[in-house]
Amino acid sequence: MTTTASHIDRVFAFVRRDFKINWSYRAAFFGDILSLITQVVMFYFIGLMVDPNVIPEYGGRTTSYIAFAAIGIALGGFLQLGLGRVSSAIRQEQLMGTLEPLFMTPTSLGVLQVGLAFYDVIYVPIRTAVFLGAVALFLDLEFALSGALPTLVVILFFMPFVWGLGTLASAGIMTFKRGGAAMGLVVLALNVTSGAYFPLDLFPSWVTTIAQANPIAVAYQASRETLLGGAGWEAVTPHIPFMALSAVATLLAGSVAVRLALKREHRRGTLGAY
């Protein structure tokens, strides 16, 4: 087996493992679907109260609040995945006592990180597609299919950036052990201040200024322009260099942070501690 094939094989071993574990928790699996439906219903009713005039127009088209929020919820899933999955998986392995046996296998740190999250990398897009499809079907929303590909490209650059942030977070979890609540708060703050659920125009001007340099806000904006406004590549390509640079920066910082955290745990002898 080549090295790459061997890495891929290991990642799929994680996927198989996580599928088996998740399937053994069927109630939680269906609970997730239920929470998705609850979110849609909640945002639908909020939408009834929101004045459509405060929602920005995309491509000259008037947008409903539920359509606006649906994009936020969909991309928010990716944000949560990239930011929280690796760190929560590391924490879970620590609690289960399986982190040290994992480290004793000839699996590189990079493959471990990808493997720990890869089940969700497959599951979240499926979940997102089902969610957007259901919203479109039952709430009579129209998404511009021509925007699907440009949106996918946005996600491809958005994910490494968020993944880098998540790697930084996992270094924090390894070091401080606890961090679930803090991570939830960070995800919420990033989501809200990036315009996931509410237009940025409603926030103080300094939030809007920060958002312009925030790759997450940029991704939300570009996705709405393509999926809701029907814009093409012209809405995406100007942002790609900035998103790519941001992704490289956070991935590098995350990688260094994890290595430092591992060294520290090794020195202290508390890698498996929880």
Binding site: R17, T98, G269
Partner: protein, 309 residues
């Protein structure tokens, strides 16, 4: 012989507490080296240092010719932790092993073959498809042993592998590791069970409160202790008022009476005496010998002596 593990002045500190103090030792290739000591002696910490999971606070070590913290070295070490909580409890033992086998870079077919064969070797074939949460301590331990062998590693670090096993299970696991050592693997075996050492281990490090009290071959450890003490229950035809004094006189220089209560005496043989001759002297002096047994085994006495208990 080639040293596989070398520790040179290794100390490990957790806050103010010294878990290991200035440990120097060597484990040779193809041997089973035992880490022996009571709870809290530092056996697990020492294994974790050797596994590269914990770094030494002072000193240096070489494992398989390098630093075990380096991934390339650590991944060549087979690890059998003492902790029961090192598996995915919701899935079967077989599924757990298949997962780890894939992480060891084995293909699907090879993983299946190896896992099934290991499950049979550790006696878990019948329970292979049960979720690990339904396993007993002993079964989990056997599963941990099977996982430790997945990498076919040249060095195996084994922490209390027989701790929760019944006699038969324990014997099977010991035979498995003895066989591996005979095929060239090096094994560091941590235990508190003295009875399993003869026939299993080649060399021993006795640890106590993080310090080495003995390091050498099992034969040297046993040879270093005093002559054995026997507990002998006696009855005298004339009902001697003080059995101990009367027996001491009868034994002469062949043995000394080192203790006793009522008609049960503790006697230590002289260097040149045999038990039969000493008992004969007692019988010649009118004692009837009712029972006689060794107060403690040679290894136990050697370890007790090293631990100062």
């Amino acid at each position: 012989m080639t040293p596989i593990v070398t520790l040179d002045g290794v100390s490990r500190r957790y806050g103010d507490k010294l878990a290991l103090t200035d440990i120097s030792m060597t484990v040779e290739e193809g041997t089973i080296h035992c880490l022996l000591g009571p709870n809290g002696a530092g056996k697990t910490t020492m294994l974790r240092v050797m596994a590269g999971l914990v770094g030494p606070s002072e000193g240096s070590l070489s494992v398989l010719g390098g630093d075990p913290f380096q991934h390339a070295i650590r991944s060549r070490i087979g690890w059998v932790p003492s902790d029961d909580r090192s598996f995915y409890m919701r899935v079967s033992g077989r599924e757990n092993l298949l997962f780890f086998a894939r992480l060891y870079g084995r293909g699907k077919r090879e993983s299946t073959r190896l896992v099934d064969s290991l499950l049979e070797e550790v006696g878990l074939t019948d329970d292979a498809y049960k979720p690990v949460r339904g396993y007993s301590h002993g079964m989990t331990k056997r599963l941990a042993v099977a996982r430790g062998l997945l990498g076919e590693s040249p060095l195996l670090l084994v922490d209390e592998a027989t701790h929760d096993l019944d006699i038969e299970g324990s014997r099977t696991i010991r035979a498995l590791f003895r066989d591996l050592a005979e095929r060239g693997s090096t094994i560091v075996w941590s235990t508190q069970r003295l009875e399993e050492l003869p026939g299993l281990v080649d060399t021993v490090t006795v640890l106590d409160r993080g310090a080495v009290r003995f390091d050498g071959s099992l034969d040297d450890l046993v040879a270093s202790v005093d002559r054995p003490v026997y507990r002998v229950a006696v009855r005298h035809e004339e009902g001697a008022a003080d059995s101990a004094e009367f027996a001491a006189a009868a034994l002469g220089e062949s043995a000394s009476v080192v203790g006793g209560e009522g008609h049960v005496l503790s006697i230590r043989l002289a260097a040149t005496s045999e038990l039969g001759a000493a008992l004969r002297k007692l019988m010649d002096a009118g004692f009837e010998v009712l029972t006689c047994h060794e107060e403690s085994g040679a290894i136990e006495r050697a370890v007790e002596m090293r631990l100062g208990s």
